[in-house]
């Protein structure tokens, strides 16, 4: 599979993602530029974390207007795979490829720390090989990560198994105490109805290198490699 990692001005997790895909997972990776209008035949597009265009307006609100996003939206609408991590997730909700919105954390502070995630479904390429009874230690780093949608949308996401991950305790407790940012139903990541677009606030690419003594995130990528065809 050929991955394309998009660099927007202000992206700062693009090289981290390239490192994991290319060096750790031995995948072919193309680095795409925000002014490009050609996805160069990539099968799987990643929108990385960072502060695209400075994010001085709403996070992701300007990135969705960049030339490459027109192509990414077409790719997704044709069933192509797209994953957004952190700022990438914000860009996906701003673009309408995923539902809901990411609001300021309820603490009103930027938060960077390890949290635990529990897969909410096996019914997606990224969670298929994960254990829904286990928890995964994955870092978060965001100021605007509080997932919000209206009640009907949340209900639909829940009913369709579109929730990918929830914030939990190490033991799998999904109470408010273990919700770092105030997300509705502890939602940390979702997919679309077509199950080809994934968005999540936590950073699995920060937990995929043995040098950093945490490889819980590697399983997410391995599941993608096994099930995205």
């Amino acid at each position: 599979m050929k991955f394309g990692v998009v660099t927007f001005p202000g992206s700062n997790c693009d090289q981290d993602m390239v490192y994991v895909l290319e060096t750790i997972l031995n995948q072919e990776v193309v680095q795409l530029w925000h002014k490009d209008t050609d996805l160069q035949g990539c099968d799987f597009i990643v929108l990385p974390g960072g502060f695209s265009y400075g994010d001085y307006l709403r996070s992701g609100a300007i990135a969705k207007l960049s030339p490459i996003m027109g192509e990414v939206i077409k790719h997704a609408n044709n069933g192509g795979y797209v994953m957004g991590i952190c700022n990438g997730f914000q860009i996906l909700t701003e673009s309408g490829l995923l539902e809901g919105a990411l609001l300021h954390n309820n603490s009103q502070k930027f938060i960077c720390k390890n949290v635990y995630l529990k897969p909410a479904t096996n019914d997606s390429a990224i969670t298929k090989d994960l254990d829904v009874n286990a928890t995964y230690q994955i870092p978060i780093a965001h100021g605007e990560g509080r997932f919000y949608a209206d009640e009907a949308t949340i209900q639909k996401l829940e009913d369709n198994n579109q929730i990918l991950f929830r914030y939990t305790s190490k033991g799998g407790d999904t109470t408010e105490e273990f919700n770092p940012n105030g997300s509705i139903n502890n939602i940390a990541g979702i997919t679309n109805e077509g199950r080809n677009v994934f968005g999540m606030m936590p950073h699995p690419e920060r937990a995929a290198d043995e040098a950093l003594a945490n490889e819980d995130g590697k399983a997410f990528f391995e599941s993608i490699l096994a099930h995205c065809k």
Partner: protein, 746 residues
């Protein structure tokens, strides 16, 4: 049009701009005429303390500068460059942004982060990690909380967006910083040393470009502002504080990295203090008999009708001056176009060392570059100093005048929740500590921050340290301890100390007692840096850290912050500080004398401020560090943590908390128990040893010459000292983790 070059400035104007009358005379002599207002403004900032180091350079020159791994030494470029081997070099530096942060903590701190990172990437190195060292007044004060919140948010918002992790730091509270906090920011970058971009100029006819942000009226004469006492009127200086734009900085970083791969430029310098003036003068002075013609009307500005001196002195952030090779302009233009940044030609390199600034073809200033810069014509002063009375007074301290409390558990809790000891989680969770996927200490905490050098066997260790209470008590010993502690932190985490950068935060240099503190600190630093073979690669001096209120001058604790880097040759041997498993043996290396001087325990529990620096012997410190290096190299220990603030009890608790294990130890009956548990005598390290390695460990230690004592063993979660139950580690952790947040939100 009539030239303004001949409109003479007056000595009153010069003094108003911060120059001394005799300096105004010096300028007249240099120019052979009376300077005009614009020229006087140029000299006033270039000869300010901040740019010229006029009151400190005499002493700074005595610091050890050379070492086996130095590629670029102090003063040669924007920052020092240390050889890491394998074709890699490390550029690193620390800088203060104290005065802006005192007035506008958010922007003050943010632009401090921006400035230090620009120093690194201007040289062509990509920043890989940051540290910061922060000092505030009493945490009970509302103003302190406002400052802490603003500074932390400023550092976080800038650094998080810029995308370089913060991997360590320190935060300290003391009432001496009530009006004048210290904000010291450190950044380190890695590069191919053959691709250093120099802050120099050459080749008459080569075009001079300004790149990055537009020039506005923010921060005009900030350097002069930083060279004044903080007073009640300081709020009037608010326009002296700049405004940061981390997005522009990120673009500038990426464009600079691409520029470094070309051979299209002669040199580049970032614009910090004194903006266009400083960069054009310093680059020219660094070259060989070259000057510049600068056309101020070509500078992209944010406001219309900016005056020449405003454009010259503006400290608008995220700008660089670049000397481009003639004929290669398009290469530079294309890179900056790609990143949607300004790149405008604003001048040309000329022969001879004069800088001519023009506004709409009118010459507004004509100055010799050399006369303006440090090491050139800038004044150098040797200041008087005298020992303050308190120094001998503090030495009279006698531990027997302090009664040992009956309940030491109460002391333990007091320390665990004290803001100087408690976890700084409330602060550092607001910083992105993991972007870049190089931070090796997130999941394996160590005494220093460890940054993975991908694609090699190596890692980079870094730390910032200074216990300013010790320095206040004894500037020489206290500063030697600061360097030693930094080296100890590097060594305990598996590194080899390489070099230091310093940020010297002191009071008014014209106050002989403040200056005595400065001189003592330099001497202590020299002694320790020579011992550990860690040359000083650069840094900055920040004087005038004091408050004048109701006519009384109160200097802050003298604070020579040490930023040290070290090299981990084999990253599989990085040493963490956490207890690994129940049953491991706990040893303390080094001697524990009956000493509580300058400890957090003495200062905050007993309220005793008058005591000397803690016990310290540099030879024993050196030997201890050599021993620890050997233990790590030979894989005989599985955790190491130095004993510092809060003493042995806090060191043990910090080792116990990560894996929620406990400890059962006995103290030494020869030493008062409070001194044994809470004293801060230097040169001690706690290590743990797997029972299977005990014999080999003891044999190694017997030959090391370093004192060692078996304290006890790691337990499942209970903390036991001399058979007394000190509670469970989860309880201690709960207090330690949340205390600072509770203070802040109270």
């Amino acid at each position: 049009m009539e030239s303004t070059i001949n409109q003479e400035a007056t000595v009153e104007q010069a003094v108003e701009l911060g120059l001394r009358p005799e300096e105004f005379d010096m300028i007249k002599e240099i120019l052979g005429r009376t300077p005009n207002f614009t020229e006087t403004s140029i000299y006033s900032v270039m000869w300010s303390e901040h740019c010229s180091y006029k009151n400190s350079i005499h002493w700074l020159k005595q610091l050890p500068k050379d070492g086996p791994h130095m590629l670029v030494k102090a003063g040669e470029e924007n920052a020092g460059l240390v050889d890491l081997g394998d074709g890699l070099g490390c550029v690193f530096k620390i800088e203060s942004h104290n005065h802006p942060s005192a007035l506008e903590p958010y922007q003050g701190a943010a632009t401090g982060v921006g400035g230090i990172n620009r120093d690194i990437f201007t040289m062509g190195a990509r920043p890989v990690a940051q540290l910061n060292s922060l000092r505030f007044g009493s945490i009970e004060e509302d103003r302190t909380k406002w400052l802490v919140k603003g500074v932390v948010k400023g550092i976080g918002d800038y650094g998080n967006s810029f995308g370089i992790p913060i991997v360590g730091g320190e935060v300290f509270f003391d009432e001496s910083y009530n009006q004048n906090p210290l904000v010291n920011a450190f950044s380190a970058g890695i590069m191919d040393p053959s691709k250093v971009i120099s802050a120099t100029s050459a080749g008459p006819g080569n075009p001079v470009y300004i790149v990055g942000s537009s020039t506005g009226k923010d921060g005009i004469a900030g350097a002069a502002f930083a060279s004044k006492d903080i007073t009640e009127e300081s709020a009037d200086d608010l326009p002296s504080v700049q405004v940061g734009d981390p997005f522009q900085e990120k673009l500038l970083l990426e464009a600079t990295m691409e520029l470094a791969e070309t051979d299209a430029i002669v040199g580049m310098q970032d614009m910090g203090a004194a903006g266009i003036t400083c960069s054009s003068c310093e680059m020219s002075a660094a070259g060989d008999n070259v000057g510049m013609d600068i056309w101020l009307d070509k500078v992209p500005t944010r406001q219309e009708n900016m005056l020449p001196y405003e454009i010259l002195l503006s400290e608008s952030q995220e700008r660089m001056l670049v000397v481009v090779k003639k004929g290669r302009e398009q290469v530079v233009k294309d890179i900056f176009d790609k990143w949607d940044l300004h790149a405008e030609q604003i001048g040309v390199v000329t022969e001879g060392g004069r800088i001519n600034y023009y506004m709409n073809d009118e010459l507004v200033a004509d100055v010799p570059a050399e006369s303006l810069v440090l090491g050139g014509g800038a004044p150098v002063y040797i200041r008087e100093y005298s020992e303050p009375a308190y120094y001998q007074e503090y030495k009279k301290f006698n531990i027997n005048d302090v009664k040992q409390p009956e309940d030491l558990k109460e002391v333990a809790i007091h320390l665990l929740k004290h803001p100087n000891i408690a976890s700084k989680r409330w602060v550092y969770e607001q910083y992105d500590s993991m972007v870049g996927t190089k931070t090796m200490t997130t999941n394996r905490p160590a005494d220093a921050g460890i940054v993975n050098i991908k694609g090699s066997d190596k890692a980079l260790a870094m730390t910032v340290d200074c216990n300013s209470r010790y320095v206040h008590a004894d500037p020489h010993v206290g500063t030697a301890i600061a360097v030693s502690e930094a080296a100890r932190n590097i060594v305990c985490s598996g590194g080899e100390p390489s070099a230091i950068t310093n940020c010297l935060n002191f009071g008014n240099p014209y106050n002989p007692e403040s200056y005595w503190q400065f001189v003592g600190a330099i001497k202590g630093m020299s002694e320790a840096c020579e011992k550990f073979k860690t040359p000083v690669t650069g840094g900055n001096v920040s004087f005038y850290n004091q408050t004048v209120l109701d006519g009384k001058e109160e200097p802050v604790f003298p604070t020579p912050t040490i930023g040290m880097i070290g090299l981990v040759h084999d990253k599989s041997k990085v040493m963490s500080l956490d207890f690994k498993q129940k049953g491991d043996l706990i040893f303390i290396l080094g001697e524990t004398p009956e000493d509580i001087a300058s400890s957090e325990y003495l200062a905050s529990y007993h309220g005793v401020k008058a005591s000397p620096a803690p016990h310290f012997d540099i030879e024993k410190e050196f030997q201890l560090q050599e021993t620890v290096k050997g233990l790590i190299q030979n894989q005989m220990i599985n955790a190491a943590h130095d004993v510092a603030d809060g003493g042995l009890f806090i060191a043990l608790t910090e080792m116990a908390m990560p894996n929620e294990l406990g400890f059962d130890i006995v103290t030494d009956s020869e030493v008062r128990e409070d001194a044994y548990l809470f004293g801060e005598a230097a040169s001690r390290v706690v290590v743990t040893v797997n029972e299977d390695n005990e014999d080999a460990f003891i044999e190694y230690m017997m030959n090391s010459g370093t004192n060692f004592t078996l304290l006890g063993h790691v337990t499942k979660g209970k903390m036991v000292i001399d058979e007394e139950h000190y509670g469970f580690i989860q309880e201690a952790k709960d207090i330690y983790d949340n205390a600072l947040g509770q203070h802040m939100e109270a």
